[in-house]
């Protein structure tokens, strides 16, 4: 018999028996030297990535999050009891540091999408600028095209970095910590995760509302509270 592992927590979670976990199994606690693992029994070595299972995974972790801040495992973590015990023992110091990092906080997520027309406009403006020159041969035309591409990429990169700086400026006082990644070549240009103390969630929401209002040229997808999925790696 294997275990499906949902999360680790410092505090014991109440009423786990009232919810249903992955594969319809009831979650329960395994406690090892003051670290609690929320698990359920699991038959097999891998779990199916069905909607029901993913929702069940989140349901159990969400139940824990309502009571305390857990360290969530990635979906699909199936191990033996021995492997789980070895993991907790070998990673204890790191896990304790992670608990201290996220204690009393939740993760809030923001994804920012480019307006595709705006991105296209950057490229078009570049091309128009270059068309002012005299006729060129195929070799030079190729090099100019490459140059235009690189210039457009540079502009997008700069704009993405500006968005990150602007976000940090607007939200830094509402969050304990943040992880922001810019991907200028992607439709989702910025992925941001904020570690927000529970009693500052309303402040964070006010700030994010203002952020969204301030930049009508960008599309925002905001979500949370989540368990601190993005803060489970050592900084």
């Amino acid at each position: 018999m294997s275990l499906y592992v949902y999360c680790l927590s410092e505090e014991k979670t109440d009423a786990l028996e009232k919810i249903t976990g992955a594969g319809g199994a009831k979650p329960f606690l395994i406690t090892r030297d003051a670290i609690n693992a929320v698990v359920s029994e699991f038959v097999g070595e891998s779990i199916s990535a069905t909607r029901e299972n993913v929702i069940a995974h989140q349901r159990v972790i969400g139940h824990v999050l309502a009571q305390t801040t857990p360290l969530p495992f990635r979906f699909g973590t199936v191990v033996t009891a021995i492997e789980l015990g070895n993991y907790i023992d070998s990673q204890r110091e790191r896990l304790e540091a992670l608990f201290a990092r996220v204690r009393g906080a939740v993760e809030m997520s923001v994804k920012i999408m480019w307006d595709k027309n705006q991105v296209a406009a950057v490229k078009k403006a570049d091309i128009i600028e270059e068309r002012g020159g005299a006729a060129v041969g195929p070799g030079r035309a190729f090099l100019l095209a490459r140059q235009r591409e690189m210039a457009a990429s540079e502009i997008l990169k700069r704009r993405a970095e500006e968005i990150i700086l602007w976000m940090e400026e607007r939200l830094s006082d509402a969050a304990r910590e943040s992880v922001l990644n810019a991907q200028p070549a992607e439709a989702i240009v910025v992925r941001a995760s904020y570690l927000v103390e529970r009693d500052r969630i309303e402040l964070y929401r006010e700030r994010i509302k203002r952020v969204c209002e301030e930049r009508a040229d960008l599309n925002f997808l905001t979500s949370g509270p989540w368990p601190p999925y993005s803060f489970t790696k050592s900084p």
Partner: protein, 75 residues
């Protein structure tokens, strides 16, 4: 803001994609690889780019709604 213009069922779909993005892409990992079963195929998970899927879904649902609106359907 996308949150405000999405309707309930669209929002629900996006919530699920957000859930997938968090649960599949992040979190503690005990072993080097996590195996999840997708349909009948075992997939060694190395990082799904679900975000692109999210964007496509947003465009899809908004596109569908725009078409319905242009055809005068009640949505």
């Amino acid at each position: 803001m996308i949150d405000e213009i999405l309707q309930e069922e669209e929002y629900s779909e996006l919530s699920f994609l957000e859930m997938l993005d968090h649960a599949l892409n992040r979190g503690l990992v005990i072993t080097g690889e996590i195996t999840i079963a997708v349909a009948d195929i075992d997939l060694i998970f190395v990082g799904l780019n679900l975000l692109i899927g999210s964007v496509e879904t947003i465009n899809q649902v908004l596109g569908t709604r725009a078409r319905k609106e242009s055809q005068g359907e009640q949505i």
